[in-house]
């Protein structure tokens, strides 16, 4: 089926199989930041923004993205480096495999929640698993990032 969609504000037109998942389509187009970590929609590694909302690209049919806007980390590099900088300053990025999906969801959270407390942050990011870091360093980084954002906005 022929679809057209926007990935990081660039228009793509393609003939895709009706059962091709968005994750595989994105990687076939060179968006390698989007990772597969499981087959059961549990890990969050494949998170992308679909019309601004964080979704699991492993569980989204590409054809359903027809006419829609998708954002991957490749298109959010400035924010990625900013959030990532705070993570790097904690040593929390570790193996890095969960980073893209995690940072995408942090970006979504920052846009959706106003001034989230620790509990809200943890709940929002719950769907992003990490096996390396023990989550504490990630939380330190997010809190510092949000505080810096707040400071910068003043």
């Amino acid at each position: 089926m022929i679809i057209n969609l926007w990935i990081n504000d660039k228009e793509f037109m393609d003939d895709v199989a009706p059962d091709k998942m968005l994750l595989d389509y994105l990687r076939s187009k060179g968006f390698f930041s989007v990772k597969r970590g499981c087959e059961t929609s549990n890990c969050g590694m494949c998170t992308v923004l679909l019309d601004g909302k964080p979704v699991l690209s492993c569980s989204t049919l590409t054809v359903r993205a027809n006419g829609k806007h998708i954002a991957t980390l490749e298109g959010l590099q400035a924010e990625a480096l900013e959030i990532g900088g705070f993570m790097a300053d904690e040593g929390a990025e570790q193996c890095g495999f969960c980073n893209p999906g995690f940072i995408m969801n942090v970006i979504a959270m920052k846009r959706e929640l106003k001034d989230p407390g620790e509990d809200q942050i943890k709940k929002y990011l719950m769907g992003n698993l990490c096996r390396c870091s023990g989550y504490m360093g990630q939380l330190r980084a997010i809190k510092k990032y949000l505080a810096a954002e707040k400071e910068g906005a003043k």
Binding site: L73, E90, C95
Partner: protein
Amino acid sequence: MKVVGQGVRKKDAMSLVAGKPVYTDDIVPANCLIVKLLRSPHAHALIQDINVDKAEKMPGIECVLTFRDVPQSRFTTAGQSYPEPSPYDRLILDRRVRCIGDPVAIVAGADEAAVNKALEAIKVKYEVLEPLVDFRIAKDHPILVHPEADFKTLIPVGADNRRNLCASKQFEYGNAEEEFKRCAHIIEQTYRTKANQQTMMETFRTYAVMDVYGRLNVTSSTQVPFHVRRILANALQIPKSKIRVIKPRIGGGFGAKQSIISELYPAVVTWKTGKPSKMVFTRQESFAAGRPRHESEIKIRLGADEKGMIQAIHMDTLWNAGAYGDHGPTTVGLSGNKSMTIYGQAKAYKFDYNVVYTHTLGGGAFRGYGAPQGFFALESAVNELSDRLGMDPMLLRMQNMLCGGQVGHLMHAYDEVEPLSSCALERCLAKAREMIGWDEKYPSREMDNHKVRAVGCAVALQGSAIAKLDLGSVEIRLNDDGFYTLLIGAADMGTGCDTILSQIAAEALLCDYDNVVVQGVDTDLSPYDKGSYASATTYMTGMAVVKTCETLKKKIIAEGARLMGRSAETAGFDGQKVFALDGDQSISLKDIANNSLLGWNRYLAASEAHSSPISPPPFIAGAVEIELDKLTGKVEIIDFAAVIDCGTVINPNLARVQAEGGIVQGIGMALYEEAQFSPKGRLYNDSFLKYKIPTRLDMGKIRVEFESSYEPTGPFGAKSIGEVVINASCPAIAHAIHNATQHYFRELPITSEQVLLSMQKKP
């Protein structure tokens, strides 16, 4: 120190957080054949016939391989130095299948859909045999897992395939039975742990291509590139010189990737077809065909006098190797050698173990490598002893455990007898006690709403590389303008060893961290390193870095002096320049470097190897506060305080995150992680849907502090940290649950259901 001790960003951090394509499946060549396996649905069977005619001819299929098409020489898939202690009990494809998931055929084709169709078209006729699934009855059972005549072990590990023994040993120091007779108190209990899965976020994956020299180039997500090279050569029966192994960025390993798992299949496909091929394990495959932590049953006798001084420890360990030996013979030793060593004043240690074969998924290496099981058992026994004595468990430990005052004493129960070289454990435990508020909280406090809070504690150690055996070398080159290239064979799997080793180099060379560029690993280009396991990269490879820097500095001084027309003894080096010790003359490193590339000067590079005769233990003291819901049995982790002696902390950020990560893995192991098998040996929980690892809502506060001893044999006084960090969680949590409920929990994981059902009985 300027660089060591700083929490610098990892060298690769910004690429990782920006999502750059740096992992195996991001850099794989286009048009790679896709390789998949047909796997046995039976735990024990013989392939009577396998018909691949139809599959082979299907569109897009390049080849279909069966046991007839692969070399018949057995090997091991355990990444260990050669000659491996692991039995050579495996073939790439075997006629006898020994566990559900054992490979039966290899299919390579143009795309996944074609390969999946071909897999369905392969017809296998199995003679289904009775499987042996219970490791408690495996030894001397009539059903043999490895009856083959060509089963072999290269070094004696007490294996006997006619008895289903993968390894066995008896060890004794002193006379345990005599000591037990004199003991006022003896704790005699059996402890059980289950298989756990590493669940690194990047599954196993490999691709292979033939290069311009007709050699097999294998790029793999592996912790052990040099062992991969050797093992593939063994498996394919080709010279080692025909293989090159490259390690890109890896999405975690935790020991899973210390075995050769996905490498075999693209290697054989590409070697046979000449075409690039790749294999990416699904998560389901990584669960069902990975290498989980070994299941164990550990009987302990712990004897003490009236004052609570431990006199004798006897550990009798039964270890489930599963279908293949892999890391079975080597992990089991740590269950006793690491745990008993921490109580260094006992008069007798006895350690017996049996590693048995069963028709279940073969176990492998997982952080701690046998020590977590051993510490769960022994520390739990020590906590039971403290109850028996009516003594505070931390005080009981203080008077028995290794401490700074025992530096120099021989550790008789250790893997190899060696003197304790550095220790700050007593400071660690004292601090953990203070951090958790032990005095106010021990043993427990009733809360509102049917909840109770309780605390528990444990101490543990690990090693720093394997004494005498492990070897790592590095090369450092001086380049134009004075920057250094650090070439390593140690495999960074996200831990940050690239960074740590660069920090050590920068400190030793007296330059900025950014002045050292690091590269690894490519077995054609990198100096040999045994790989990233046994907590070796900082301690062992780090010393190779220190030694190499010393050699290189001498060369820089000699060359700088020569360029100044002086002799080397009259010159010094401050990182920026070589200068006259007795005058104003100096020449910048930049000038020396640029000159060194000219034929009439000397090119400057150095390469040293290091192996340590000892393996100085790092230490951890862990104290945990839990809240237990008496109505449901649910255990919440409120606060985990860990204080670690890893010697000098090279990078406090990375050390802290290693600790937090290990502690949380231990929480999963303690409370709910368990690979669950059916009576026929099928893994029930082969997905993240059913095998749950801790999420960020599953731990409360984790607080990590460091109390550093100075390890004279380590780089700038450092030991290791990678594995010790997982060892305290299980016994500390089990202890806290005991203090909350008065019941002892001697089997992991301690699920809420078990807690509740226990509480319904009398303690």
